[in-house]
Amino acid sequence: MMHTVNKSPFERNALDSCLRLAEKGSAILLLEDGVYAALKGTAQSAKVEAALKSHEIYALGPDLKARGLEEARLIAGIKVVDYGGFVDLAVEKGTVNSWL
C-alpha cells in the first residue's frame, strides 16, 4: 500500500491520521502542500523522522520546487521522486490510500 498526503501538517491532521493508521512497511508519498512535512527543523519534523524508521517516505520533486523547498532542507532519508517515480510507486505498492 502507498499512502499519499497532500495537506500541510501545520494546518491539517491528514499526516497525523496517516501515521496513526499506516501499517509498518507501507510507503508514504508527500505531495502538493504535504511536502512541507518533508522539511527538517520544523515543529513537525520529529514525527516524520520517527516514521522513517518504519516507512519509506517520498516527496514529489515538482511540488517541492514550486514551493522553493531545496533538497538540502529536507529530512535525511526522504527520497525525492518525479511524476514518473510517482507512477512507478503506485504500480509497485498496490492500493493507494489518499489522506485528503
Binding site: 500500500m1 491532521n13 491528514a14 491520521s17 496513526r20 493508521l21 499506516a22 501499517e23 507501507s26 492500493t95 493507494v96 490510500n97 489518499s98 489522506w99 485528503l100
Partner: protein, 130 residues
C-alpha cells in the same frame, strides 16, 4: 456517438472501502462519498465504510437541517443495511477524541482501534477517501 457502452462487470467483486474523514454539511465530501457507497453497493461490490477524524460526526444522532435549509442526508446512512452495506467501522481514537460513544451514532458500527482499522485498509482493493 450513439454507440452503446456495455460494462461487463459480471462476477467481478472487489473490496471497496469508503473512508470518511470530514464532517457533514460543511463540505460536499460526506454526501459525495455516501452516493458513491450506494453506487458501489448497486454493483454488488464487497463494500465497507469507515469513519474517522471528523468523519465520525457524519453519523451523529439528532441531525435536523430544517432551519439551515440544507438537504438532510444523515438518515441515508440508516438505509445502507437495505443495500447490504453492513460493514461500518469507526476508529476508536477519533470517536473518543470528540467525546462521543457508540450510543451517539445513528447506525450500528464496529469500533476499532487505529491499528486494526489500518490493517483492514491494507486488505482492500480500492480505497475511496475524503
Amino acid at each position: 456517438m450513439s454507440e452503446e457502452v456495455v460494462f461487463d462487470t459480471q462476477g467481478i467483486v472487489k473490496k471497496f472501502m469508503f473512508v470518511n474523514r470530514k464532517a457533514p454539511y460543511g463540505t460536499i465530501y460526506a454526501l459525495e462519498i455516501l452516493e458513491s457507497v450506494l453506487i458501489s453497493a448497486a454493483f454488488e461490490q464487497d463494500t465497507s465504510v469507515a469513519f474517522l477524524d471528523d468523519g465520525v460526526f457524519q453519523i451523529k444522532k439528532g441531525s435536523d437541517t430544517k432551519d439551515s435549509g440544507m438537504k438532510n442526508f444523515t438518515n441515508t446512512y440508516r438505509a445502507l443495511a437495505g443495500y447490504d452495506v453492513e460493514k461500518l467501522y469507526v476508529e476508536k481514537e477519533s470517536l473518543e477524541a470528540r467525546g462521543l460513544t457508540p450510543e451517539d451514532l445513528i447506525v450500528k458500527v464496529q469500533v476499532l482501534p487505529a491499528a486494526e482499522l489500518g490493517k483492514l485498509m491494507a486488505e482492500q482493493d480500492v480505497l475511496i477517501t475524503g
